[in-house]
Symmetry: C2
Subunit: 331 residues, 2 copies
């Protein structure tokens, strides 16, 4: 496959806004998030409405931080894990911004960023906001069991991040530039355990990383951080091993947002974090703010998504996965 | 909102491939579809797998018709109505083509086409395939009731098209060019009846059509056809009335794919057709083939999507909707 690595010249991150819940606030990255709320309902009557409220609050904060009104934004892109992406649809319904709904499971905000880059760099819009959310309680109901069942979780399972991240991308220069991207292929390695999605997504991440390093001149040691979205501890270890077998050692800069957001020694989060909001808040919060402090100048961010649904698991299907990559530099 | 109408110079339709089921074959457009199969399972064990099979068959036919192999395609974009878009994920898993999952409900193939146009015209890829499917039996289970319940349908309800459409877009010239597009806003007009999605989508279609005609120099009489996706008879009549109140009379060239695919006098299809495959097969089959015959030279195609899910209906929520527009000319 030629042209795997897309090149962008004039796409910049104006700013980000992140909103998290209680568990994320108890983790090591708490100081990097913009907003939090300990009420798991966020003032709403249902978990689904709570997730839409997260989207609304995050977008409003993004508008405030960037000094923009909704009518200043040319394009809005996003999606979430709920059936038919309703958290986003209801969350953005009042904005009156042209909207493209995307579904890349937990990779959605990176997918949205890549699409936004192509619209901006192609000269079709001047700016675009991307947004993606997840909520522990809606995801449990959606993919596994309603919370009321009190199900036990397996050691390989991951905890869905309750939160939302949103970024404003634009053609007006800032120090933060998205310079490259790789669009993932749907990879199906036969993993069928919905409680081990990290393993399913690991090969997708490996596929995308190999394509990037094989087809670009990049060297792993030049990056300050190489972070996948939500492989978790289990999936991360698998990906390290698989990459090494393919001759690629990413070293100790290689990590996973799902391992960063919680303290896996103190918080009972099994293999780590997952969900659209995992990479959305860890990149938008932790990594982007460290770029602002000049602690990170060169970042490779790989959104990872498990493209299953509840029925496909019950029907004993495998878990197709995808991983989309962006390369962000501080100029 | 400025820049509502996106302009494309070098995006061409190489060819289309369409696959339908039994009901569609009994309708007036039967001669315009490429493939059909009367087996509602398409040789698979479940309806969900049947829908993925439709995706596979359609893509394979597209590759065959265009003389391409999967490795010749730079980008694949698509989605469907199933939870977490699994019909598409499983359907494309074997292709090894970089994939962007989209969710715009029944507007998905038009949304995918617009995103593809921006990638192609922006110079990021040379070509892109778009695909979208729906299946009557999966959609009933997903949005309303499993077929086994034998539920009665209301007169305003629509019948989900069983089928799949796929198009290859490219920067190599053909006579069929996508020259303009409008990305829809999420419109919520308070309609709550999941059996009257045409009404919910009508205002989204009206919003997009008004933006197009207000911001371009286009005149309705210059088009050979102006077709919305799946408003059905009920939604179409509403949109005509709403447009007239806003001073826009689109005349008798204005129609709806949901009214074209079935014979509403003979087939018991209530308000008409719906589903991702409705506009995907009617544009890719009927309209595109009439363009090939030079019977249609100037077409305005408006994909319409109702962004609800089953829970949002049960929770008495309204139905946010979206409508994406493309302008296709035969040069």
């Amino acid at each position: 496959m030629k042209n795997s690595v897309l090149q962008y010249e004039n796409v910049f991150i104006a700013d980000t806004a992140t909103h998290v819940g209680k568990n994320e606030l108890e983790g090591p990255l708490k100081d990097y998030f913009d907003m939090y709320d300990e009420d798991i309902y966020f003032g709403q009557k249902t978990f689904e409405k709570a997730e839409s409220e997260l989207v609304r609050r995050s977008l409003n904060l993004l508008f405030k931080k960037t000094g923009k009104k909704p009518e200043d934004i040319s394009l809005l892109l996003g999606g979430d894990l709920l059936n038919q992406c309703v958290a986003t649809s209801f969350g953005v319904a009042g904005t009156q911004i042209p909207f493209l709904g995307l579904y890349g499971a937990c990779s959605t905000i990176i997918e949205a960023s890549i699409v936004a880059c192509s619209f901006i760099n192609g000269g079709f819009v001047d700016n675009a906001a991307v947004v993606s959310s997840s909520h522990f309680c809606t995801a449990e109901r959606q993919y596994r069991f309603p919370l009321e069942y009190g199900s036990q979780k397996t050691p390989t399972s991951q905890n869905t991040v309750t939160g939302c991240g949103t970024y404003l991308l634009q053609n007006t220069p800032t120090p933060y530039r998205i310079c490259e991207a790789v669009i993932g292929k749907v990879v199906d390695n036969g993993i069928k355990d919905a409680n081990n999605m990290g393993a399913a997504m690991a090969t997708a991440a490996v596929d995308t990383l190999l394509r990037y390093f094989n087809e670009s001149n990049a060297r792993a040691e030049n990056f300050d951080i190489i972070a996948t979205g939500d492989l978790g501890k289990e999936g991360h270890e698998l990906s390290v091993e698989l990459l090494k077998r393919c001759g690629l050692d990413l070293g100790d800069k290689y990590t996973d947002c799902g391992m960063l957001i919680y303290d896996l020694n103190k918080q009972d989060m099994h293999s780590g974090a997952s969900g659209c909001a995992c990479i959305a808040t860890v990149f938008g919060g932790y990594i982007f703010k460290r770029m602002q402090k000049k602690e990170i100048n060169n970042a490779l961010i790989i959104g990872t998504g498990a493209l299953l649904n509840r029925n496909s698991s019950l029907q004993n299907e495998s878990i197709p996965s995808v991983a989309h990559l962006i390369h962000v530099v501080r100029d």
